[in-house]
Amino acid sequence: MSTTTTDLQDEIDALGKSHDNHHHGPEKGVMRWIKTTNHKDIGTLYLWFAFIMLLTGGAMAMVIRAELFQPGLQLVEPQFFNQMTTLHGLIMVFGAIMPAFVGLANWQIPLMIGAKDMALPRMNNWSFWILPFAGAMLLSTLFMKGGGPAFGWTFYAPLSTTFAPDSTDFFIFAIHMLGFSSIMGAINVIATILNMRAPGMKLMDMPLFVWTWLITAFLLIAAMPVLAGAVTMMLTDRNFGTSFFDAAGGGDPVMFQHIFWFFGHPEVYIMILPAFGVVSQIIPTFARKPLFGYSSMVYATASIALLSFVVWAHHMFLTGMPVAGQMYFMYATIMISVPTGVKVFNWVTTMWRGSLSFETPMLWAVAFVILFTIGGFSGLMLGIAPADIQYHDTYFVVAHFHYVLVTGALFSIIAAVFYWLPKWCGRMYNQKLAKIHFWWAVISVNILFFPQHFLGLAGMPRRIPDYSLQFADFNMISSIGGFVFGASFLLLTYIIVDCIRNGERVKEPRVWPSAKGLEWTIPTPAPYHTFDKPPGKELILAESSHTGAH
């Protein structure tokens, strides 16, 4: 036993030495970032882009909450308010959450499967470098005549066709570019996972973050082209006389909703499955136990992904559909809670009787489990067709999807950054400050979103800049929570920049002593090139977080 451990230690040491024998290092200057084919560079680019978009979309959220601070029209024109809700949603979904997860995938997947890089490195660069151009095109609409898109992030026809400003065509092409980038990124992830694993790593040896990304990539390739089709039909309806969404020509505006949500429902799992993966990496580390129910986690993820394609019309219960359709979509939707429940129970069972410690990533992961579950429960309520008649298009929906996307997806991204940042840059952040930031954010985010459940149940509609007087108190509380939560991101920025520039140096390969996984066998900070020689079978099994090797 001890010899084996020594052998593995030798292999880990060798990994630290072998990285620079024939490789060129990074180029100097800005061209390094523009030309790079290195998965770590590209991951970093994705993460910074996502962070900038997060702050941009967050600033728009602040405008929304400021306007809603008191009843009556206070600060902005209703038309501008609508542009803010629209672009806030689009930027957070396509600019912040999705690119952040692709950034994490770029950094982590090759490290976690023992690959030297992504499978198609030049295409990887292109996937990223489309994003700033697409983001610029999307944001430029705000400065055009007639203003930016103001029809909500779901851009239903005919608001987005007959009654939309000229800038909508720029929005359409921005969506095309974002989709193109996502599809190429997803193809790269699948090829990397299926083709680049270290020899000897079976699919069921893969860490869950890799599994969840494999399934997410499949969802992206299946769903994003449908969105491209939807915006293409919008484009031709607007400019070339087609009538896909115009009943006068035999089309139907409702058809837009069907096509959109055929993309849109898988899209919500695109934004949450990698989050499940992150949390499934972090909890075993700080519970010091292998992940409970690894294979059930894999199968649950796959079930959620498949079900996500056959439940789309639960977004449309009030649009009008036959009762049989309502019943089918209701039951199919509620069925998703079974695999999701499997996941939540597995996380809780992993923590059960573990020797828990609450370092910053663990705090975020535990908060994820609790708060995401709240969002899941309100989702169940919305999935019940008769109840949805009351909840539809109210602040209850807003509260629901912000619980799953902010305290779900975004929290997991923050958890992942606090978990892997020391490995990436070889420095530890100020842990005390990070914990203060956690409590600041987790309390304020609940002040922000929890009252919105009550507002919605009482009937306050979403996407309206004004409201009746009886909604005033909860709106003010929510806005105060919003400003405090928004300000917490200034502290987050400081913590991350301070870590990268002045953080205490970390040399241990295994930054968290209880962590398992191939990414913890390479030196800290991660060298520019890793795994020129793939790790051996023994090391793979020893680092597998679910084989009971703890």
């Binding site: 290195n38 599809i183 790269n188 082209p225 491209a228 009538s243 896909f244 009943a247 020509g249």
Partner: protein
Amino acid sequence: MQSRQEYYVPHGSYWPIMGSIGMFSLLGGFASSLHGNTIGTVAMILGFGVIIFMVFGWIGQVIHESEEGDYNLQVDNSFRMGMGWFIFSEVMFFAAFFGALFYARELSVPWLGGAGNNAFTNAVLWPDFKSVWPLLNMPDNSNFSVPKGIIHAWEIPAINTLVLLTSGATLTWAHWALMNKNRNQLIAGLALTIMLGIIFLGLQISEYFEAYQHLNLKLSSGIYGSTFFLLTGFHGLHVTLGTIMLTVILMRAIRGHFNKERHFGFEAVAWYWHFVDVVWLLLFIVVYWL
């Protein structure tokens, strides 16, 4: 061809950023030109040029690296997976338009005509509207080009079906030649396939000409024209791309590229061609025939 042992990770490259700039210029320019901005048209054309330059430069570099022996079998496998999943994404793109056609034929047009429990829809909106397919009279004809007829399946489309099916066969014949190291037959097979692709496109253009000039069947002919032209149009665009790609493969074959073991470029284009073929069969059945 001696290929290197380890997985090839290319050095930094300008092609991707050039592609992004080209794409931004093409699409941004297109959007501006739609609103009467002439500078937009210029930007669109420039962007298109940049993209063409980028595609040929990038692919050219890949071909060069391939011929230098930079790619081992694992790299080859990455390319295969990349092409396979790309074709799957294309399938889903076409699925959106086939879905729209299905929705119009099975749901929205019958509903407008009062089918199911929609009698009131018909009575209130357009009481004179009758649900028929092909839909030549829209619920409200005033904003649309009313077609006098449609393209019938057993005329040009049937010939085109034969042409494309034959092209699939000639391409497979070329593939056999490659496997049997018969270069002349490989070149002949590819050339025949390209010729059939061009014949298909020529017939398709004449069909569009017929539709626009004689039948008044246009993009603006309601949901029939919309689905007809977008489905066949995107298909035609894919045939065009496929023909260009086949031409590149032909030129490579003439230069002596590809052998029995290593010919991913050939296979990728063949997969693409067969995919376009299958889409056409579906189109022929649900757009033209039924």
